[in-house]
Amino acid sequence: MIISLGILSATLLIALLLSVRGARSAGGTVSLEQWSVGSRGFGTIFVFMLLAGEIYTTFTFLGGSGWAYGRGAPAFYIIGYGAVAYIMSYWLLPAIWKRGTAWKVLSQSEYFTRAYGSPALGNLVAAVSIAALMPYLVLQLKGLGIIVSESSYGAISANDAIWIGTTATVIYVVLSGVKGSAMTAALKDVMVLLCVLGLGIVLPYTLHGGIGPMFARIAAERPDFLTLPARGMSPSWFASTVLLTVLGFYMWPHTFGSVFTARDASVFRRNAALMPLYQLVLLFVFFIGFAALLSVPGLKGADVDLALLRVTRDTFGPWIVGLVGAAGLLTALVPGSLILMSIATTLARIVRPPREGQPADSATFARLLVPLLAAIALFFTFRGGSTLVTLLLMAYSMVTQLFPALFASFFPNARITAGGAIAGIVVGEAAVAVTTLGGVSMASIFPGWSHGVTDINAGFLALVLNVVTMVLVSRL
């Protein structure tokens, strides 16, 4: 227990030291551009670390193994959507980067303001993105609490861990901005790779005699577990969910920030070939979940997220548990810091927009916002109940609704107006709210239709309404 606690605290300390070094090398006064997009000077490796940094979150670590453990084959969609999203990134990210850099914008909402010449649209996008990011941040903090309390064998309560982790994140975001996140992301990636590859290979072998025998046993005991079911999470659920997730993949506001850190557009072209390989780390996360299924059975409901930590605790000593906990800690801190930075930058630029002939120095203001935003997230973390999964799914559907307007911004000949974009987003978000909060499902909208239709992700309906509204209102 003392060993695992030691490793956890050492990791937190190293993360803080890295950020202080980042801050010192940045020198004296820092502009908002330096703080939030690293002066747009990052090469392939730094951008890779940032983009990977925000993709491998606590959800991947705990949720990925939890899904394999709790649901089996439907979990495979998580590997699938990443690869398809990276194919799209080859064309999408250079297009965003090219425009965003020419316009010198720092945030997603500013991108929309400039693209459509409409501050109203920019403010709407800011509102959507902040509403979607808050639950996402809360989810990271909750994950952090679970990881630290489990891997310290209960010595640190989840609540204490959340307080300590949030304080550390605030300190290093304020000190060093995006550079600190990139440095910590590198440390995180090394630890996650070591832990996931190690556990994903060692656990199936020591517990079940290998990957083949492990799957053979699952196939014998749970014959339906390794294929998609005919209803519910069926083939049409799989394909529509992959497609919808791909469209939403790069719509997160903090992803725009990472895109703008790139030195040139070729950075994204190289990353499109690198990222799919990195995605395969998830395969080993699944192996851990499947190994746990046979050796620590019986976790139900939200507890499936504990599968990875439980099987690690049952099989190994505190050294390994500490390392896994530390890696998990960083998977919460890095995305958490990028989210905080993204909300702070968005707000700072709205409250204090850059003016001609005046240095845009809202950096201090943005940094002051960080502790305030963290406090709000803490409030929701301790107050929000079990509805978190609903909120996360809703957040994803919310940002996906920004895709049509973004896509249209690449094609001025399509004559999509700011009014059309606003109407489309409003209608799309309303449809998302009705389907996720109101409990309206595809089956209740299309009663009596076959499962091939009713299993389609309801987000698609919202997206179709969004596009139709956008085009119609633009033509008025």
């Binding site: 084959a73 495979f76 590997i79 699938g80 990443g82 690869a83 398809v84 990276y86 194919i87 080859y90 290998g210 990957i211 083949g212 025998p213 492990m214 799957f215 053979a216 196939a219 390794l226 294929t227 998609l228 069926s234 083939p235 049409s236 799989f238 394909a239 992959v242 497609l243 070729s266 072209r269 190289r270 499109a272 070939a273 690198l274 799919p276 390989l277 995605q279 395969l280 395969l283 699944f286």
Partner: protein, 62 residues
């Protein structure tokens, strides 16, 4: 999308999106994995290969 070799990118995308129809079974197992998982993993690897090829061709002929 003017250059024909860029259409190669559609192959892994279709293979992954269509996976539940092309490959929704356990046998034959690939490296011990159920066929569905093995199929998706194979196409994720191919995504990397295809994107590297397109990238290399685009550098030569921007």
């Amino acid at each position: 999308m003017t250059k024909p070799y860029r259409l190669l990118a559609l192959v892994p995308a279709v293979a992954i999106l269509g996976a539940p129809w092309f490959a929704n079974r356990v046998e034959p197992r690939i490296l011990g994995m159920p066929f569905l998982l093995g199929w998706i993993v194979f196409w994720v690897l191919m995504t990397s290969v295809v994107m590297a090829i397109i990238g290399a061709l685009d550098v030569r002929d921007p």
